[in-house]
């Protein structure tokens, strides 16, 4: 129980210190100080700063993915399911700007391993999009990569807002996010109609 809470404190510290100082300038000493744990305890849990950061990244991605999946299940049919999931995602990011920045903008500072974590985390959203295939008039002609493209479009919009310092206004971006989600499957006109019906 105690070991777990120390680990959680270290992970929270990684998010907060990296958000404040940047990854490169963050030291293990910063992390142990912020977490209120000893250097020995830190090294019992993690071989180095990178391992701690990656564990923090995975933990944050897990929380986000679970919230999105839970919201997704509250609705029966796509695109309402997608809207619920995306609404939960935007709300969670807006509530925790430090995590949002780290998860979608600053992750690359920690190198290639963090970049692979980033893509893996994004691809966990695939089910939100894939069900659209069943509702697409041209479903069988859509490329297999369609969900990856839609995820790229959605994340591009979100990262733009975060980089511009508008993380807290993310929930207001839902219509555009919904358009980006629906249009590859339904086309721009039907997507525009779908967005206004969902409002």
């Amino acid at each position: 129980m105690v070991a777990r809470s120390q680990r959680e404190r270290a992970l929270d510290a990684a998010v907060d210190v990296v958000a404040e100082k940047g990854y490169a300038a963050t030291t293990v000493a910063d992390l142990t100080k912020e977490a209120g744990i000893s250097r020995t305890t830190f090294y019992e849990m993690f071989p180095d700063k990178e391992a701690c950061f990656l564990a923090a990244y995975d933990a944050a991605a897990d929380v986000l993915a679970r919230r999105v999946a839970a919201a997704f299940e509250t609705e029966a049919v796509w695109p309402a399911r997608a809207r619920a999931g995306l609404e939960a995602l935007l709300g969670s990011l807006a509530d925790e700007p430090a995590i949002a920045r780290l998860a979608l903008v600053d992750f690359g500072a920690a190198g290639p391993a963090a970049q692979r974590r980033y893509r893996a985390a994004l691809l966990r959203m695939t089910p939100l999009f894939d069900e659209g295939r069943d509702f697409a008039p041209e479903g069988r002609r859509l490329p297999p990569n369609t969900s990856r493209m839609a995820i790229g479009a959605v994340v591009g919009l979100i990262a733009d807002e975060i980089a511009a310092g508008r993380t807290e206004q993310l929930p207001g971006l839902l219509p555009e996010i919904l358009f980006a989600t629906l249009s590859p499957y339904l086309g721009p006109e039907a997507a525009t109609r779908g967005v206004s019906e969902e409002r």
């Binding site: 690359g108 500072a109 970049q115 041209e138 002609r141 859509l142 490329p143 493209m149 479009a153 721009p188």
Partner: protein, 203 residues
């Protein structure tokens, strides 16, 4: 001789892009860069304060070169769909021929600090601006303001995945999918799938 000094600076900038693409930004040292460029430490520090300063200059120059090549290749192309296809093809060919440049441009830039990420962001925005002409295609349609962000986001996500997986040389095989991703927010799935099929046949 001014041209000689200029060419030595250029050689260092080119070397920086290659070494970072090969070793990663963090693992790259000034020693690696001067070895690749065949120049001296003194020459390096005559032009640049440090590795970071040199990287920013090399990134800016690379973006200019890539963008100039794309504009030269496709400015004359009409209609818009052909221009987008040609532009995308040009970018993909550059990346496939120079995998190290591609990795630096898209993947490693994130490790080089906030100012480097800003340069990457600005470069992406230039491509978005170039795409904006697509709106004129459908004057009556109400498309969201950020539609080019979606198109570029979809394309760069796919490219990023391929580069992280070490498949830069195979990027041209992805051209039909990339074209679909770029066009679908504007044209819808039916028309975008038609263009995708044509690109696959041409390949």
């Amino acid at each position: 001789m001014a041209t000689d000094i200029e060419s030595r600076r250029d050689a260092i900038l080119t070397a920086m892009v290659r070494v970072v693409g090969r070793k990663g930004y963090d693992a790259t040292s000034v020693a690696d860069v001067i070895e690749e460029a065949g120049t001296s430490r003194t020459t390096f520090y005559k032009h640049f304060d440090d590795k970071h300063d040199c990287f920013l200059a090399s990134y800016e120059r690379m973006v200019e070169q890539v963008f100039d090549t794309i504009v030269a290749e496709c400015d004359g192309e009409r209609p818009w769909v052909s221009r987008v296809r040609k532009g995308l093809e040009t970018l993909i060919q550059i990346f496939a021929l120079e995998p190290e440049l591609a990795r630096t441009a898209v993947v490693e830039v994130a490790a080089a600090g906030a100012d480097a990420r800003k340069l990457h962001w600005d470069a992406v925005n230039r491509f978005k601006g170039y795409l904006e002409a697509g709106r004129e295609l459908e004057p009556g349609k109400e498309l969201p303001e950020q539609i080019s962000v979606m198109a570029v986001g979809a394309v760069s996500g796919l490219i990023f995945d391929e580069l992280v997986a070490g498949r830069a040389e195979q990027l041209p095989e992805l051209m039909p999918d990339l074209l679909f991703a770029m066009l679908v927010p504007y044209l819808g799935p039916g028309a975008a799938a038609d263009e995708m099929r044509r690109a696959a046949q041409a390949a």
